[in-house]
């Protein structure tokens, strides 16, 4: 095994180990009732945001396209999950919550994937800023659409309309326009979220370290060169985009089924930016970083409730600082010098370990 490969393998194992360890610790805390109510309530959202961050990292970090509509896919997934779950319960009388959750998540992923294909076909022909603008518009379109969407179930059938009046008598409303998806039975569990994170990590990490993943990264580093080597660029950008959309849809379904209502205003442009902050702060192309930053930036605002007014302000400043620090050569050189002794120490230690072996 080569050096680079081993380094990557270790990093991936650390990522998995960290997630599994966190799950075990939190589960034992829940069993021992030593966990605060607010944190308990945050567990499933944290899982959803981790999946969102990792999947967006696939698009931004690995395929190098700035997508600002990731919350749109989450919204599609959340609504689909709520409708499928409600329909299975009311119309099909399915009582098994685990099966319902799995089917809802799958449906959320598929619908978001379809949306991803539809939006990806025109969008991935664009580059840079244009792509960002169109994905931003997509998120807003989805938000406006679900704002006037009415879905109800009666006698085992689904009724869909963009006008409230058209619903038949005795209908059980699942999505009620601006009120959002209503009367959801919260069936999402922390275990389900944990499994979804594991699935996401397996998919993303395995994809990145495979033929397709290398092609995706090659299109990011140099489009013309990748094409000249016979790599169909649009196909691989699409692959990354749709995979991310499917994962975001599943995260959305999980998120939606964690509460009793889902409203359109939950998935605004601000949420897309939120996820973008997770990704940039965790590091582009750094999956472990995304996991950690998504966790902390979800927990932190809850703990610092008093300062919540300043959150977006702080995010903006942090984003700008991160960009400056990662892109300004002078500052980077300064930081390198600053951390050089530390690195030396670490490297020396590793060398010694290698010799001992």
């Amino acid at each position: 095994m080569t050096k680079a490969k081993r380094k990557r393998l270790i990093l991936n194992l650390v990522t998995f180990a960290l997630v599994i360890a966190a799950y075990i610790i939190l589960q034992s805390m829940i069993a021992g009732k030593s966990i605060s109510r607010s944190l308990r309530g945050q567990l499933v959202p944290i899982c959803a945001w981790i999946v969102m961050a990792v999947s967006l990292n696939l698009v931004i970090g690995f395929s190098g396209e700035l997508s600002l509509g990731h919350a749109g896919f989450m919204s599609v997934g959340a609504y689909t999950g709520a409708v499928v779950s409600g329909w299975l319960l009311h119309a099909q009388n399915m009582q098994d919550t685990t099966l319902r959750l799995v089917l809802a998540l799958a449906a959320g992923g598929v619908m978001a994937g379809v949306a991803g294909v539809l939006i990806g076909i025109p969008v991935l022909r664009l580059r840079g800023d244009y792509l960002a603008i169109v994905t931003l518009a997509f998120g807003e379109i989805i938000r406006s659409l679900v704002n006037v969407l009415y879905i109800g179930t009666a006698e085992g059938r689904l009724h869909l309309s963009f006008l409230n009046k058209e619903m038949p008598e005795g209908v059980q409303m699942l999505v009620d326009g601006a009120k959002g998806a209503v009367k959801i039975k919260p069936i999402a569990t922390f275990t389900a979220g944990f499994v979804l994170i594991l699935i996401t990590l397996v998919v993303v990490l395995n994809l990145v370290n495979s033929r397709a993943g290398r092609a995706i990264q090659a299109t990011r580093d140099n489009r013309i060169a990748a094409e000249s080597m016979g790599v169909p660029v649009t196909k691989y950008k699409m692959m990354a985009f749709v995979t991310a959309a499917v994962l975001a849809g599943m995260a959305g379904a999980l998120y939606g089924l964690n509460s009793s209502t889902v409203v359109p205003t939950q998935f605004t442009f601000n949420q897309s930016i939120n996820v973008l902050v997770f990704v940039v702060l965790g590091g582009l192309g750094n999956v472990l970083g995304s996991v950690i930053s998504a966790t902390f930036l979800t927990v932190l605002p809850e703990m610092l409730r008093e300062f919540s007014d300043y959150r977006m302000l702080v995010y903006a400043v942090v984003l700008i600082l991160v960009m400056i620090f990662t892109n300004n050569p002078t500052i980077r050189a300064f930081a390198d010098r600053l951390f050089a002794p530390l690195k030396q120490l670490f490297r020396g230690k590793k060398q010694a370990g290698g010799d001992a072996k």
């Binding site: 080569t2 050096k3 680079a4 490969k5 397996v202 998919v203 395995n206 994809l207 370290n209 495979s210 033929r211 397709a212 993943g213 290398r214 092609a215 990264q217 090659a218 990011r220 580093d221 140099n222 013309i224 060169a225 990748a226 094409e227 000249s228 080597m229 016979g230 790599v231 169909p232 660029v233 692959m239 192309g285």
Partner: protein
Amino acid sequence: MTEIRKHRSDTKMVPVPSHSIVPERDVNEIPVLETRHLGIEFGGLKAVDDFNLTIGKTEIAGLIGPNGAGKTTVFNMLTKVYEPTTGAVLINGRDLHGMNIVQASKLGIARTFQNIRLFDKMTVEENVRIGLHNRIKYDMFSGMLRLPRYWIQEKRQHEKALELLGIFGMQDLADEEAGSLPYGAQRRLEIVRALATDPKLLLLDEPAAGMNPRETEELMENIAKIRDQFQIAILLIEHDMSLVMGVCEGICVLNFGKVIAKGTADEIQSNPVVIEAYLGKKKEG
């Protein structure tokens, strides 16, 4: 270097239709590359006009000319980065018309770039593996789920990549980040990456740029070695005349988008039109 000169003198150049010359051994084969009246305009400016070139199956050809003559533009047309406005490009007798860059690559045309275009953030080996993209395949789900096919094909890719890096003795650099390599090594890596696509025709855009004389000489030997080992045709753009004259069996001179001379090294060196294009016209009297 002397060996290459010897090699070159063995090669007898013979004329073929469409006013070109190819090595004698290639005459009965379909030429790897044939361009017919190739031309491109940028907003009324004829960057390249009536460009005709034939390259035999295992020929090493050179494309030279002063700065701005349109050499790289020719490369971009051959690889479909630009769509020619007139004329046709035939690779192994197949017209490239209507194809995109990827399809042209699949027909067996590979190139390096004047301004190096490596995948900077990926390792050296991964760069070569991108070249192997269409040769050693497995689908996306085998990769995601780590099916047996993934392991088999990854192993084959790894072995093939190291074998190719061995041409320039770069196996030890396999794990380095491509962007951190020294300039000369980056140029060599580009050649390896292009070779990984299993081309019939290799286009080298200023392969010796930024190399010292010793490196250039080494490169010259390697170019001849690559041709013999892979049995491919090579077309190179180069300003280093010792390289061009030393290794190329046929040379085409371009000036202001037009072909002003074609022939062997000796013919080109003594051609007054070429001398004029490079050095300017001798003042009368």
